[in-house]
């Protein structure tokens, strides 16, 4: 390789004194023996440290709060992949995970990234208490800025309904979206109606759906048609339920 960088020819191997060759071979052998004697490095999972305060991060990033927030979430995101080892989410201390997410949100309140991580990454762990912790975290942060963060709570409502099988919790989240997030999409604001329907609260669902249609909030013709049909179905189901009760 050295010939690539040098002009002129190299001398033959005979020009190298025997002692130099011997020293080279000996040193190389020693290096290999030395390495072989060393213990094989063991992958060791490092525990997640508590997040520093927002002020520390803000100052350390020279006032670049957004960059500090981005580095915080990336650090947290990459934490489960340490050299030579992959830490399952369930092994993480979720209180510390929440502290990192909270700090990231404090530094960059407009970012949805920490809530996305909470609801769709750490919330997907196969452990109910941890799922609930993440949902509650998202709910608490939603209340701070409902119009900005409703979509993550909507995801938690769906998670509560289908994975946690906790209809009252799903209803609480859906109700809060309807109540606080005025700019949320129609599907999210109407979620409460369908959860009530699933819970067998047909009367309440009908009242809400009727109210929604009466206020003129829904303007899209297809959506209007779908919701009207849904209202009719609810009325029919309620009537048939009432008839069954009279017969009994």
């Amino acid at each position: 390789m050295s010939a690539l960088f040098r002009d002129g020819e190299e001398r033959t191997l005979h020009a190298v004194p025997f002692m130099v060759l011997l020293l080279l071979a000996l040193a190389l052998t020693l290096q290999i023996i030395f390495h072989a004697q060393q213990a094989t490095p063991q992958a060791r999972a490092e525990s997640l440290e508590p997040a520093p305060s927002a002020n520390v991060l803000r100052t350390a990033s020279f006032g670049e709060s957004i960059v500090a927030a981005q580095f915080s979430v990336l650090y947290l995101q990459a934490f489960d992949n340490q050299p030579g080892i992959s830490i399952p989410f369930r092994a993480l201390d979720y209180n510390r995970v929440m502290s990192w997410l909270q700090i990231a949100l404090q530094l960059d309140p407009q970012s949805g990234y920490p809530l996305m991580m909470a609801s769709q990454l750490y919330g997907q762990v196969n452990d109910e208490p941890r799922q609930r912790m993440m949902c509650e975290f998202v709910h608490a942060r939603f209340l701070e800025a409902p119009d900005l963060r409703w979509r993550w709570l909507a995801h938690c409502a769906i998670m509560a309904k289908h994975r946690l099988r906790d209809q009252p919790l799903a209803l609480r989240y859906a109700t809060d979206i309807t109540q606080y997030a005025g700019t949320a999409s129609g599907w999210a604001r109407q979620m409460r109606i369908f959860i009530l329907e699933d819970m067998g609260e047909l009367g309440s669902a009908k009242v809400l759906l009727g109210g929604l249609l009466a206020t003129g909030e829904v303007t899209d013709p297809s959506e209007l048609h779908f919701l009207t049909e849904r209202l009719k179905t609810l009325e029919e189901r309620e009537n048939s339920a009432g008839t069954t009760k009279i017969r009994q």
Binding site: S2, F5, R11, V16, A27, L30, Q31, A43
Partner: protein, 254 residues
């Protein structure tokens, strides 16, 4: 005799090319920067300052030692000073050993200067261990730079090789861990090849990530056996690099 003379003049050359002044200037700048970092920290201010200074000083010391050794030999090649020296009755082995001795004196000086603030910032025992480890590391970097510049003759490829070697040696333990335990869990031929390659590199490189650690200063100093291991590894690798430089230099046609 030749070795001592060449070594002495190499050290003298360092003095005349303002290496001590550059080291002192770097020291002042790093201390100022570490004081600034200390002011930024809301708590554990001393830990922040020590950690920043130690990590930065280590890199700066490696940079100074390597650049000085590379530039010195390159200038000698370009000025035909080497031909003049070898026209005298100086064996090539003496020339390399003399140059290396001179570079090691410079490396020791840089290590001592750069570690001075740590005697105030950290416990004396930890500072002493850290300085000893830095001396061995810089001696190794000096030998590596000498080998590279003898082999490549040109400054750019030699400096590139030193930088790549140093980065690789600082990462090799993490690479070995990742190679041995792939996250994907796949045991494909490409995975096996990559793992074998990294393991092979591990045999040829010193694990510099375990040397001159900042944690010795801010947490707890290493066990004596660890320092002994570093010393032994340093001596073995220093011999290997010197032998490799001698091998290439003896084959060099003037």
């Amino acid at each position: 005799m030749h070795i001592t003379t060449i070594g002495k003049y190499t050290a003298l050359e360092a003095l005349r090319t303002r290496v001590p002044a550059t080291a002192m200037l770097a020291l002042v700048l790093l201390v100022c920067a570490s004081l600034f970092i200390r002011e930024l920290a809301v708590f554990e201010a001393m830990r922040f300052q020590t950690g920043f200074y130690a990590a930065a000083a280590r890199l700066v010391a490696v940079f100074l030692t390597s650049v000085y050794a590379l530039a010195s030999i390159t200038r000698e090649f370009n000025d035909k000073g080497l031909e003049v020296v070898l026209a005298l009755d100086v064996p090539r082995t003496h020339y390399i050993c003399g140059k290396l001795a001179g570079f090691m004196v410079v490396a020791m000086f840089i290590a001592v200067v750069m570690s001075l603030p740590l005697w105030i910032l950290a416990p004396a025992g930890a500072a002493c261990t850290w300085t000893a480890s830095l001396m061995i590391e810089l001696a190794l970097i000096a030998a590596l730079s000498l080998f590279c510049v003898v082999t490549f003759s040109q400054l750019l490829p030699a400096a590139g090789f030193v930088a790549a070697f140093y980065l690789l040696a600082r990462c090799i333990t993490a690479m070995r861990l990742m190679g041995a335990h792939p996250i994907s869990g796949e045991d494909t031929p490409s995975q096996q090849f990559a793992s074998a390659l990294v393991e092979g590199l591990g045999y040829l490189l010193p694990a510099l990530d375990q040397w001159t650690a900042t944690s010795w200063l801010v947490d707890s100093p290493p066990e004596p056996v660890q320092l002994l291991g570093i010393f032994l590894q340093g001596m073995v690798y220093l011999t290997l690099l010197t032998a490799a430089a001698l091998f290439d230099f003896h084959r060099r046609s003037l």
